[in-house]
Each structure stands twice: as structure tokens, then as C-alpha cells.
């Protein structure tokens, strides 16, 4: 396995960001569907969205763990990033935070790495 190069980290960050946006968006649609179903009774089922979010969250988690491991982040931070994929809007917040952390930490890396 390749070590954590800046390049591999930027790839992992890209994958994580894409999934954060997808999962965040699907999650908001899912929540809207739950409300539409249970409060306004305008749709019958949100099962497909639940299933879609389930699988997308899995991919999100895989990307998030991959990035966290490459960055050697602490367990609380890993938990925060992972759980963010299940709480509406939090994945967008997490994505901003992760960007900040990665840039701050990679910025310290020697030039050329």
C-alpha cells in the first residue's frame, strides 16, 4: 500500500467531498420525503430513499474513513466525520471543516511532497 502522499490525500479528499455532497443532498431529500409522508401524507413511501441513503452512506463512510486514516486523525474526529453523513446538513458542515483541517495540516508539509 502506498504511504500517505499529498497526492493520495488529495485524491481521498476529492472522493470524500463528492460523497459528502451526494449524501448530504440525498439526506435532505430523504428528510423532506419523511415529512411529506408522515406530516402532510402526500406520498406513500420513502423506502427507496431510505435504501438509497443507506448505500450511499456506506460509500461515504468508506471514503471518510479512508481520508481520516491517511490524515491520521483522532477517533473523535473520525466519529464526527462519519456520523455527519447521517444528520441532515451536518455533512456539509463536516465537508467545510475537513477541507479546513486538510489544508491546515497539508500546508505544514514540506514543499514538493
Amino acid at each position: 500500500m502506498a504511504g500517505p502522499t499529498a497526492e493520495s490525500i488529495s485524491g481521498a479528499l476529492k472522493r470524500y467531498r463528492v460523497m459528502a455532497y451526494i449524501v448530504g443532498t440525498v439526506l435532505i431529500i430523504f428528510v423532506a420525503a419523511i415529512i411529506a409522508k408522515n406530516v402532510f401524507h402526500v406520498i406513500d413511501s420513502d423506502t427507496y430513499l431510505a435504501i438509497a441513503h443507506g448505500w450511499l452512506f456506506m460509500i461515504y463512510l468508506l471514503c471518510a474513513l479512508d481520508l481520516c486514516l491517511r490524515m491520521r486523525w483522532s477517533l473523535p474526529r473520525i466519529l464526527f466525520v462519519g456520523i455527519a453523513g447521517t444528520i441532515p446538513f451536518l455533512s456539509f458542515v463536516a465537508e467545510r471543516r475537513v477541507m479546513g483541517w486538510v489544508h491546515a495540516e497539508l500546508g505544514k508539509a514540506p514543499a514538493g511532497s
Binding site: W55, M58, L69, R72, S74
Partner: protein, 262 residues
Amino acid sequence: MLRTRKWIALTSLAALIIVGFGALSWWQWGRAQRDMITHQPTAPLNQVVTGTEPLAATNYGKRVRVTGTFDAAHQVLVRRDESTFVIVTPMLRPAEPAVAVARGTVNSLQDPAITHIPAGQVTLAGTLQPFDGDPGGESDLPPGQVKHLTAAAVGVMPLVGGWIAQAPAQEGLTETGVAYGPEAGTGLRAQNVTYAIQWILFAGFVVYFWWRILKDDLNAESDGAGVELPTGSGECRSTGSASQDSSKVTESRLDPPRKKVY
């Protein structure tokens, strides 16, 4: 020493998480089955009904199980429409009134399941249904067929005052549609099935990332000077990746060690 302890802790944690995820998967698998007919609680018939009086409305749709032998001679076909027939076969029970059992539905009078009546003692489960009211009048149907399922149509005495819609139906037969009780034929809930699968996959993630952390650790060791490998297996030393140091983020980037948990 510290390293060994760390790995014992990490491995135990991973094992615990895997067991936990396995339990969650099992729980979701149970939830996926909650609508299935086989999952509804059943009571022995004689705990619900003992006499032959018409079924009390409070017992409509109750899940029961019953043991007895089928009385093939008194089987009747209840005609639902031109080509749909419910096969009703009385079940004889020693010392207790017989009970009419709808074994299932067929779409053709040539269906072999009609005459394929299980022999000997049989135990089955189903939901209790009330008999139809007797409309009286002459039937224009061939012998052995009836329009309405009544106690008289079954023609066995004494007979429990309601019938059992066998569910799940006998093999090869379609479950009889019923007016009362848990809906027949409801399958697994897709949402919970996928969650059950996902918990297993999450457990797989734990193994994968445990392995990655281990590899990272071994690589870091072989990069560092003279730290003893916990396993002592030389093959685990990084083969090649250590030589790619130029492309690798140097340890200085990763140091001073952040709040590392692993």
C-alpha cells in the same frame, strides 16, 4: 510493550465492534420479517375455540395452529370466480370437532394440488375466518363445488364454527385471500434487508481498516530505526513502499504525533 498493548486494545475493540454490528444486522433481519405471516404469533386452536358455535368476532383473523388428519372425502372447492377455487378440506381431530381448512387457492380445476392432500397427521398454521352466511337456494355448480363456504357445505359434524385459511399455504398452492387477519403473502421488508446487509458490510469495513492501520504501523516501524516488530515476521516489512520515500509525506509532516488513537 506499549505497542503490543495498543494492538491488543485495538484488536479487542475491533472484535467488539464486529460482534455489535453482527447483532445489529441480526436485529434488522428480524425486523425485515416482521410482516411475514410465519412471524405472527400463533396459539393452538383449542385454546381459542373449543365448541362448534359460530366463531366469535373477537377471534376473526387470529393466528392458530392445529394438528389432525385431512378428510379427503369431504373436500369442497369454493368458487371465487370462473377460474379461481379455494380448496377446503376438513381436518379431523381425535376427541375434538373437525375444522375446515382452506389449504390454498388454485386457478385451474386440473391443478394436481387439489387431489394432493397430505396424508397422516399434519400440523399447520393459519388464520381463523368466519363462515359465509347461508344464502339458501339451489346451487347450479357441479358437485363438489360451492359458492359460499358454510358449515353445511363442508358436511362434517361436529365442526368448529369457523374455518382456517392455511398460511403459509401448502406447497404448490397460492395462499387464500382472507377478509381478516394479517395479510397473507407479505414478504421481507426491503429497507430492513438492506440495513441487515449493510451492518455486515460495516463489520467488513472494521476488518479492512484494522488491517490498514496495522500495515501503516508496520510500515512506520520499518521506516523508523530499530523498532522491534511485534510479530517479527519479516515479510510484513514494507516491500518497496519504504523506498518510495521521496513521494511519501515525510514523518515530519505526520509529526509531532497528533492525538493518535492508533
